[in-house]
Structure formats: structure tokens, C-alpha cells
Symmetry: C2
Subunit: 226 residues, 2 copies
């Protein structure tokens, strides 16, 4: 499948690399490819510059958001949550129309200090805002409840015996995403329902962040025992 991964942070790189390794035709989208590749310092999260990753992954093209989305059948929004609508606007509505848009972002708001709060929250979600802004896109929320390493290699933790959620209005899009999740190794894929159920998935983040502190590791995931 032709896949565009929008976002060059740790989640975007990890997803792009793993989807490419599965045999998909993957490109990475960014606002300004020249600027992204010219950065030579680690980002605010300490992630090494994108150029280092790209040097080891030259088979994955780096394009503008619009170029990447135009050629793709499926688009992954792996930008940071606050920048998602802006990035998808730069990708252009016409390039998203009819396509599966997989939103893995979390709307973390660091403006009030640490830990971040969510914005939007409770009566709205990032996924719903994306679906509302791009009504012709087939938005599916998933994977936002775990770290990027587990997104693409769930088997490395607890034998893969933990859960991932999908939310979306389009059943066919959820089927496509579910198949992709299975390719990545996910076994317990729970369809929460329509896109409004993404509120619940996004609202896991405050607990996730506190567990990260309490457990001293980000390498954990939620399993729904039933």
C-alpha cells in the first residue's frame, strides 16, 4: 500500500520504518523537507536530527505534506497533536479526500507546565476535529495509547498480550487499519465505535504520563482483561 507518514519526530520515523519494512511503499511528509533535512541538532525531546535517521533510511522519500499525501492511499498523522490540523491543512483537503487518515496523535498542551493537559478534551477530541475539518477523509484513531516502539512491535512486551483501540465513522477504513495493525503484530484490536470514542482513547494520556513516572519506564501498555 502507498502510505504517507506525516511527521518526522520519533513516532513518524518509527512508523515509517516499520511500515516500509513490511513492504509498503512509504514516504515521509514534512512542512519543508529541505529545512527538516538541514537540522543538525537533537529536538526538544532529545530525538537525534532527522537527517541521521534518513541517512539510514534513504529508500524512504521525504516530501512536502501535500506531495506525500497526494500520492498516498493511506495517510498517517504522526505530527504532534497541537500541529495536526495545520499539517493536514498543508497536505490539502483534496489530497485527503476519500482516503484513510490514521490519527495517532495526542492533543498534549504544555502551555500550563508539566505534566501537560489535553486540549481538546472531554467533549471533543483531536480525531473529531480532524474528521470535522476534512469531512471527505476517512479518519481512524488508533495507536495513541502506547509508545512508538510498541506501536510497531507489540510482541516485544508481554508476548504482545495487550490491547489497541480503533475509533472511526467508516467501517471500511477501520477494516483497513485493523489489517495494518495485525501486520504490525497487534492481536487484541478493540473497535470502540464511532469517531467520538476517540475522546476516551485520548483521555488515557494523563494516566499514561503518570504511569511513565510511577513505573520509571514508557515501555508498558494497557490490556483490557475480560
Amino acid at each position: 500500500m502507498k502510505i504517507a507518514v506525516l511527521g518526522t519526530g520519533f513516532a513518524g520515523r518509527t512508523l515509517a520504518g516499520a511500515l516500509s519494512a513490511l513492504g509498503h511503499d512509504v514516504v515521509v511528509g514534512t512542512r519543508d523537507p529541505g529545512e527538516t533535512l538541514a537540522r543538525s541538532a537533537p529536538d526538544a525531546m532529545g530525538t537525534p536530527p532527522f537527517s541521521e535517521w534518513h541517512a539510514a533510511n534513504q529508500h524512504i522519500a521525504v516530501e512536502t505534506f501535500a506531495e506525500a499525501a497526494a500520492a498516498a492511499e493511506l495517510i498517517v498523522n504522526a505530527t504532534n497533536g497541537a500541529g495536526a490540523l495545520s499539517a493536514l491543512s498543508a497536505a490539502r483537503s483534496a489530497n485527503l479526500s476519500g482516503k484513510v487518515v490514521v490519527d495517532v496523535s495526542n492533543p498534549l498542551d504544555f502551555s500550563q507546565g508539566m505534566p501537560p493537559v489535553l486540549n481538546p478534551v472531554n467533549t471533543d477530541s483531536n480525531a473529531e476535529r480532524i474528521q470535522h475539518a476534512f469531512p471527505e477523509a476517512r479518519v481512524v484513531k488508533t495507536l495513541n495509547t502506547m509508545n512508538a516502539g510498541l506501536m510497531v512491535d507489540p510482541g516485544r512486551l508481554g508476548g504482545g498480550d495487550h490491547s489497541v483501540f480503533v475509533s472511526g465513522d467508516d467501517a471500511g477504513a477501520k477494516n483497513t487499519v485493523t489489517a495494518l495493525l495485525r501486520e504490525l503484530g497487534h492481536r487484541d484490536i478493540i473497535d470502540l465505535g464511532d469517531i467520538t470514542t476517540a475522546r476516551g482513547a485520548e483521555m488515557m494520556l494523563p494516566l499514561w504520563l503518570r504511569l511513565w513516572s510511577a513505573l520509571g519506564t514508557a515501555d508498558f501498555n494497557f490490556k483490557i482483561v475480560r
Copy 2:
């Protein structure tokens, strides 16, 4: 231990019965014991009238919030979330002072229809509001992330292999509550940190409610796989 369970709904009854069965000296607190015992119809949730439960549990006294709290060493807030501060005010601040107050409530707001939203949320929590209103109480948030049956009998699901969270500012109070959780059969008890971490635990509810619909059962729980 002398325990007052405030609230006569399903959670309150279940906790009171189980804690009594463990050998604790349990009383149930309600706003107006005569009125509570006089009800003869199921409540809005379909729970049978309290008098039926009490007829089968006559060893558990029913007292006013204040009477129940005054005699107790540990107080469980099992009222509905929206009524928690009012119930604890009726129990009186002096009767809570220095005592462990276990908050199992969820601040569900049904005023905007179904599913309910949370109020407070994100930058505040029910547990923090209780701690702020009763600064001499030693508030511990726990058990709000599962149904009442699992609160008191975690072993009935998945061999008890799932998680429960505790949040609170007082280490001694969390130790007391952790011991009580172990008595109830909980094995994976995760200390999230101070009382502000209750935001994360309360924000699990939107996902919990959607899982209830998606799975067709409320008999599930979260396990933190790590």
C-alpha cells in the same frame, strides 16, 4: 478496622458487604436513614431498593453521614461523583479530620446526555476537590476504574491478573488503603503519586464507558502490562 461506607447505591452496598465479610466493623452512611430504608422502588439505575439489601445485611448499621463518619477510622466515599462534596460536608469536616478518606467516585455529568462527560476534568479531579475541601482528611483515590463486583472480588476475572491505582498525598494513608486492597484480593496495586494523579484515574472513565458498549459487558478491567 471501623469503616464507614458513605453511599447506598450498588458500589456502596458491594463495598460494605465485602469489607464486613472480611471482618471489619462496617456501617453505611446515608443522608436520611429513615428515607433510604423507606424506599420501595428500584433506583434510576435499576438497583433494587436499599431495604432489600439491608434485610439481608442487618449486621451492617445504617446511620447518617455524620454518625457513620464520627465513629469510623476509615471512610469510603461511594456516593455518586456529583454528590460527593455534599455528602462529605454532611459527614462534617471534624469527623473526617486525620482519617483516611477513600474516594471511589467518578465525576460523571449526565446533564449533556449520554454518554456522560466528566466534571471536573483535565486540570482538576473529584479527589482533589475533596482533598481541598477537607484539608485535614487523608484522601486516597482508588478503585474507580472498575465495576463494583471487581472492586471486591478481582479474582473472579482473569485470575485477578489486572491492575488498580492509588493516588494521594499521604503515604501512610496509601499504605492503609493498599493493605485493604490486598485483603480484597488485589495484587497489582500501582501507586501513581500525589492526589493530582487522580485526574488520570478519573479520565479512564470515558474509555471505560465506551468499552462497556463495545464489549457488551462491564466485567472487564485494565491491566498495565510491563
